[in-house]
Structure formats: structure tokens, C-alpha cells
Symmetry: C2
Subunit: 353 residues, 2 copies
Amino acid sequence: MQQRGGNGGRVTIAEVAERAGVSTATVSRVLSGRGQASAEMRRRVQKAADDLGYRVNSIARALRNSRTDTVGMVVPSITNPFFTSLVESVEHALGREGKELFLCDAQSDPEVEARRLASLVARNVDGIIVSPSHGTASGPAVQETADRLPLVQLDRFVGGTDTDWVGVDDIAAMRQVVDHLHEGGARSAAFVGSRLTNSSSEQRLEGFRRRAADLGMAVRDAWILLDDYTVEWGEAAVAELAAGSPGGPPDAIVCADDLIALGVTRACRAHGIDVPGRVQVTGFDNIEFARLGEPALTTVDQPRDRIAAEAVRLLAAAAEAAAGGDAAPGSRAHIALVPHLVVRDSTRAGGPR
Amino acid sequence: MQQRGGNGGRVTIAEVAERAGVSTATVSRVLSGRGQASAEMRRRVQKAADDLGYRVNSIARALRNSRTDTVGMVVPSITNPFFTSLVESVEHALGREGKELFLCDAQSDPEVEARRLASLVARNVDGIIVSPSHGTASGPAVQETADRLPLVQLDRFVGGTDTDWVGVDDIAAMRQVVDHLHEGGARSAAFVGSRLTNSSSEQRLEGFRRRAADLGMAVRDAWILLDDYTVEWGEAAVAELAAGSPGGPPDAIVCADDLIALGVTRACRAHGIDVPGRVQVTGFDNIEFARLGEPALTTVDQPRDRIAAEAVRLLAAAAEAAAGGDAAPGSRAHIALVPHLVVRDSTRAGGPR
DNA sequence: ATGAAAGCGCTAACAA
DNA sequence: TTGTTAGCGCTTTCAT
């Protein structure tokens, strides 16, 4: 119908103004609900806008306001169920503030990640939530972005950066895991994780080692297996473990995430290793599929909603500080929430039977 | 450092121009790579930009160009692995065109979906890819959006709309499924799907019914169970099936997606029903977890990359047509790709044994 | 209460 | 080749 400019025929505020016989200023005031306007004006403007099918052009609005009401989020992989559920939580938390989410997938590649971050900056998002792909390589891009915009790191934390962070206390979590396994009778244990390229992995291994040592559990070097956060790696690790353990496998296999644990339990089944009878297995994250494993996985539940809420809160605070003209970066917050253990069937709850 | 306006201290093209001692037009030409500029100019401008840490403000650029190089995508649920992998495919296809993806989750709710679509329009995305949440309720919002922007429906199709569509031929897919089960010895079958609120569900049931009838397989009304695309529903359905089948369960259970099938196989295990010995089970989509079922699922593999590529192609074509000033909507394309069966362990390949 | 007008940062005619 | 300038659609002083 309305054909104008290179605009694809979109109705502008000027057209609404003309039809209503008022100025563009009045239309803006009425439609954005700011400022005063008589009831009569409101009615007329509203009608004209409805008749024309007017929709605000948020690009123009963003340029004028230098605010987009949009938060960018970058995750290592959108196909990892843990991150998708985290995204969901963040989206809900943002929705409560009337903000929207611009989601980017970094494909677990720091270079792609850097491009995504740059693009989010160019788009003037109000803030950025990022779960860095790599424990060191992600550093420069993350820091550079944080220098320009409010930014909070989620779940994982990159070395060499100075930004807000929200995640779980991996050390405390692993302590619960190892204690539980020990109660279930485990006196030796293996750890299957990802290469130490991100903080989660490092911290979880560290927490595992520390508590296992405390309890005097046997942990051989050959039982620390690091590669990838994938089901395939979990499966392969069991083969390595079986091959590399002359005296038989350890009593327990602690996995750095649920995908790995799912692979581990699957391979155990294939190798005829009874879980939890012969070997106890634990995961981490409590993704939806964790309960679907055979047996259902004992794992660590991450308080996603809480993590998301805290992140959004920090972002809002940072935005406010920036708007207040605080050139100096305020102090940073590192918020570690303590997750809880979800006991299912892949461990021997309540001691040996 | 640079503090200016309400801009958060971002460097503008004017500042770069000043530092380089040239006009803003020259800076624009150099940095966007369009138009001519001497080597000397390019050097000077580039240096000034680098020194200042200039980054283009894509909001301003978008307002000027009325193009954002961004495509919006709306999926029913970001936690459904099928959609996330579809998103990944779309992102890759878009990346090849230098475009980015703005992803929205409709939470399987047509109202949320309508809001997302409106927001994408407001943001001036160049086009929209949507997998509608509901077979009828999604109609008005989708059509209204399609009237304003290039839009293609993916996977699912809403009744009462006139837009491009790319997906799979569900009828042909189901034919393959039923044939395979029949070869495996099945003479009766149940169907577990979602309430008939979307085209996939409808089509798949229709395809199932038709082929089962062709082959003379028994299909009782009590064996058509419709609720949700969830694992939980798959589990519940088995209980209903067991309770409601005096003469014993059917020889096969055809599921409308892999999540349901995963629930079904799990419940069968719990009920001591051997799969595929007593009952054969099939899924649909071939999500990553399909092979992790116990037994691994026979399912229908959707050609995601192909679907994504076609969608992006259609969008580009529509954008071009729109730019060419074609006010009249061109003819619509409905592209149905034929998926192929992936045979794993939940069915009896090659006839009864 | 309403309107006129400036300007957010960028690009593309058009001039020089 | 380079510069001047208008203007994308919106919001917001500042007058009236």
C-alpha cells in the first residue's frame, strides 16, 4: 500500500502525524507514553496509528536514544543442552526487565567468538553476557569488549580479564560429588573432563583432586582423561580406562559434564561393566537428558535461574553506573553459587549394599 | 577515554575524519570499502581509525541503509535439540552470505511468538525464518509479518498463510517408516505424537495412517495417542498403551519425534517390554541423542543443512524482488525435501528373525 | 498542551 | 579524487 523511500513501505511517525493532523512530536509523546497529551489527542493519534498499521522503527529509536533494550549473549555451543537451558533462563530474566536477547553461537572457537562480540558492540547492545569458549584465548576479545560495554561472564571465567562473573562453586560441587562416592564405597576414582582450556574444567578437576586426596582415595595419573565435552569422548574414555588399568578400573568415574557421563555409562553398558555395581559414575550440569541415561545419572544441578537472575542484575547495575557518568570502572563482582547434588541411579547412595 | 554525548564514549566517524584531516565522506568511503579513495587517503584514514579504536555503529548504518544484514529466526523451543541443530545450520548458511542471525524462542506459545515477530519487524531485520508454534493460532501473526517482510516458514507450516515454506515431505517419510516396520514383521502399529496443533504432527499422522492402511496393518483408535513433543509424554503413552490394549500392545510404535521415541523406549524398558523383540519403535528428526537411546533409535534424518540453505536462498530472492520494487507478492515456493531413514537397533531390519 | 526544529551516526548524491 | 550536504525515523528540548 504505502510506498515510500527505500523503506519497504513502512509507515513512519510523520505519516501518522499527518493523518491525525498533529505534529510528529505529539505522536511520539502519545505512542511512547512519555510526556503529557490530552485525551482527545491520544485518541486521535492512536486511531491514526492503528489505521495505518504503524510500528515503531526501533533502529531509529535506538539511534536517537543510544539504547537498544537488547542484551547480547554469546555461548560456546548452542547444541549443548546446558547452554540452551541457560539461555532460556537468561531470556526469562531479561523479559522481566522488558529487554530482549540477541543470542550468538561461538562454535567453541575463540575467533568466531571475537567476531560475535565485535558485532554485538557494533549493534549497540546494552550489555553482554558471555560464557567464554576458551580459558585463555578468549581473554583479549572479552576484555576489549568489557572495556566498552557492561559485560558479565557466565559459568566459565577467562584468565586475564577483569569483569563481573556469575557461576557455581566448582570446588564445593566436586567436594559433594566425591564425598557421595566415598560414602558409596569408592576408594579409587578416575576423572574424565575436557582439555584444560576453560575454567570449569580446571576447577572441577582441582576440586576432584583435592577432595579425593583428603579422603585418601587412589587417583592414578592414567585415570585423569581430558579431551572434549562430548558423548563420544565419554565413550572413548572408557575404552582407554579399560585398556590402561591392569588392576581393573577404578571404583568411580567422575565426569566434568553430563554429556561425557552419558557417554561413559553407555560405554560401560557396552563393555559389560555394571553401573553402579562395579563402577559408580557422576555427571555435572543436570541437563534434561541426565535422567534418561541408563542408569539415570547422579549429577550436580546448576541453579540456572539464579545464575541468570544474578547476571541480569549485574548488567543492569553496570548500565546504571555507566549512565551515571562513572567513567571509572566500578569494582567487579564474582558470584559463585553453591550447586546441589542430584542423586539418581548411577551411584550407590547411602553406602555399600 | 573519549567521553561524548550519551554515546558511552564511542568514537564516531567525525572524530576519525578530524584526526585524519579529511571529510566524513572520505572516512565512510574508506572504511566501508565502497567508492574510490587514493592509497594515501586509505592509509591515513585507516591509521586514524585504528588509533582511535573506531568501530562502526551499525544502528546508524542500518537506519541510513534501511538494511541490517540480519535475519530473524523464531523457533518454538530452543531446548528442543532438533531446533537447535536447525538453528546451527541456518547460522552457517547465513554466515556464507555475510548475514547474522537474531534468534528468538517462542516458548511454544503463539502469543509470545507474535511478540517476537513484531519485535523483529521493529528491528528491521532483512527477513524472517519461522517455525510456527501452532498449526492455526500462529497464522495471523505470521501472515501479518509476511506482509511486511520476506518470510519463510521452516519445517512446520501454518494453515491460512501464504508464504514460502521449506521442510520435509512427512508423508513420504512416514511411508518409508511404515514400510520398514512392515518388513520387520509388524502387522499392527500405534502412533504417538503431539496434539494436532502443527502441520508436522498432522502430516506425519496422515502419512502413517495412509501407509498402514495400504499395507493392511491394524491400527486401533486407542493406539493413536496425541499430546506433546516431550520425553515425558512418550513415557506416559506407553503406560496408556499397556493399559488400553487387552490383546497386548501393537507390534510397533511410531513416534512423531525423537524425544517421544526416547520416552517410549525408556518406558518399554521399565515395563519389561523388549525393543525391538516384542515392539519395534521409530523416532523422527535424528537428533544427536537418538543414537544414545537404549536401544539406539531407528529414525528419520532431516536434511537440516539443505533445509537451511533453501530457506536462506528463498529469503535472498525475496529481498531482491522487494528491492527491485516489486510491490506485488511474487509466487510462493513450497519446497518439500525427502528425508531418509536411519536404521538402528529399535527396529528389526531385514524382516523377522 | 502542542509544535518547530535540532540532531543521534552514517551514507550517497551531487559539486568542486 | 575529495568535500559538502541532505536526510534515514525518532525523541526531546525549547518556544509558544
